[in-house]
Subunit: 223 residues, 2 copies
DNA sequence: GTCTATAGCAGGATAGAC
DNA sequence: GTCTATCCTGCTATAGAC
């Protein structure tokens, strides 16, 4: 057995966070054991308790030190894309959002991890939910709300806008979160072409829905 | 200790399925122990192994004997709603779908369970995924595809239609699946009024997106 | 800061009485 | 079909050597 491992420029604490995140994302909190994490991080079992106290706290610190910084990178990317368009219209906002999340600064592996983790918290909120709600979800939501509000005509009610933002997020999350299902039903792999296609689709659908700009007499049969 | 428990008209096997489903939905597969299930079902620990062989198999049978029948009830409700409208337009189809899933034949507690279970499988597919994909997801998808295809104008491409159906499902799933987040961001509780509002929103957004029938010059700033 | 060793417990699964 | 008792594995967490 090697006593002192070679991990140049790569502290044990950081390696644990990296591997823990990957495993939590992939399998979920309860399906991952400390032994599995420390084995993957090539360190001793007791290192998790030494650095993080316990498993639950490691999970929270994954969100604090891995998930949140990545969320910030996505949001910055979104803001940057908008900053390049001074008088932006609703479609510019939705496009910037879709691009930031589907093509933005993350690698595809990071993107999958990111969405798996947030999906887990949305489905079954734990301690970490309050953290990310307060520091990422609420600020982003309010920011988009302000942008869209400024860009939309005033006939749009507050509630209508809120629900529309949820719907846009539903699409963005779903197209990352349900990759397996979507591949299984559509046959598409998540390559660059398909992601371009998805961004275009999200923008078009968010603007026109099923009807399209050629808007026909959709309501004719309803009396 | 009581030797023979009183469970009139309610076989042990069925009680285990009921309680197991509730717990799996609420906490996820790995977070639930056999002991917890059998305690909740008021039977002996060994009953799970007696009736289902092992935990994994119990999980699959929950999908087989609880989830799938419920999915069928929802699909029947959808078909029934459509049958009442002979010459249905796209908005009728989307409304029937949203109603079937958000207001349909299930109680609200059943609806939450149903969506938590399917979300778990979409996020991290297990053995059960193939079962429900083959017996519920693919048939429903193809059925809607056919309905919409017949109701839409022919300018809509195959791929465009596929992505649009995903988007409609994304909304329906998200509005059930992300209840905690949506309540946290919008302040709305999931009462009857809000669910009515959601159905209307899903139909409107799916038809017109953000622009609405008053469709303005959304694309003006993009050159 | 990293390791070994182990405490202490909970998990899934089985054998066999009734 | 339901129960008790038990096996054995794997888990989290801690104590203490180096």
């Amino acid at each position: 057995m090697v006593k002192s491992k070679n991990h140049p420029n790569n502290r044990t604490r950081e390696r644990i966070l990296d591997k823990a995140e990957a495993l939590f994302a992939c399998k979920g909190y309860h399906a991952v054991s400390i032994r599995e994490i420390t084995k993957s991080a090539e360190c001793n079992v007791s290192a998790v308790n030494y650095y993080f106290g316990n498993k639950q706290n490691l999970y929270c610190e994954v969100f604090q030190h891995r998930w949140l910084p990545r969320a910030k990178r996505i949001h910055n990317c979104f803001r940057q894309l908008l900053a390049d368009k001074p008088n932006c219209k609703p479609n510019d906002i939705v496009r910037a959002l879709a691009q930031a999340f589907l093509q933005g600064p993350l690698t595809d592996a990071e993107r999958v991890r990111h969405h798996q983790l947030i999906s887990g918290e949305i489905a079954q909120p734990s301690q970490a939910f309050n953290l990310i709600a307060k520091q990422a979800l609420h600020p982003l939501f309010n920011s988009i709300r302000g942008d869209l509000n400024a860009a939309m005509s005033e006939i749009f009610g507050d509630d209508q806008l809120t629900l529309s933002i949820f719907s846009i997020f539903a699409m963005i999350l779903h197209f990352n979160f349900a990759r397996h299902l979507i591949t299984s039903l559509s046959g598409h792999q998540y390559d660059t072409d398909f992601k371009n296609r998805l961004v275009d689709h999200i923008v078009e659908f968010s603007m026109f829905g099923l009807i399209g700009k050629n808007g026909e007499d959709w309501n004719a049969s309803t009396t």
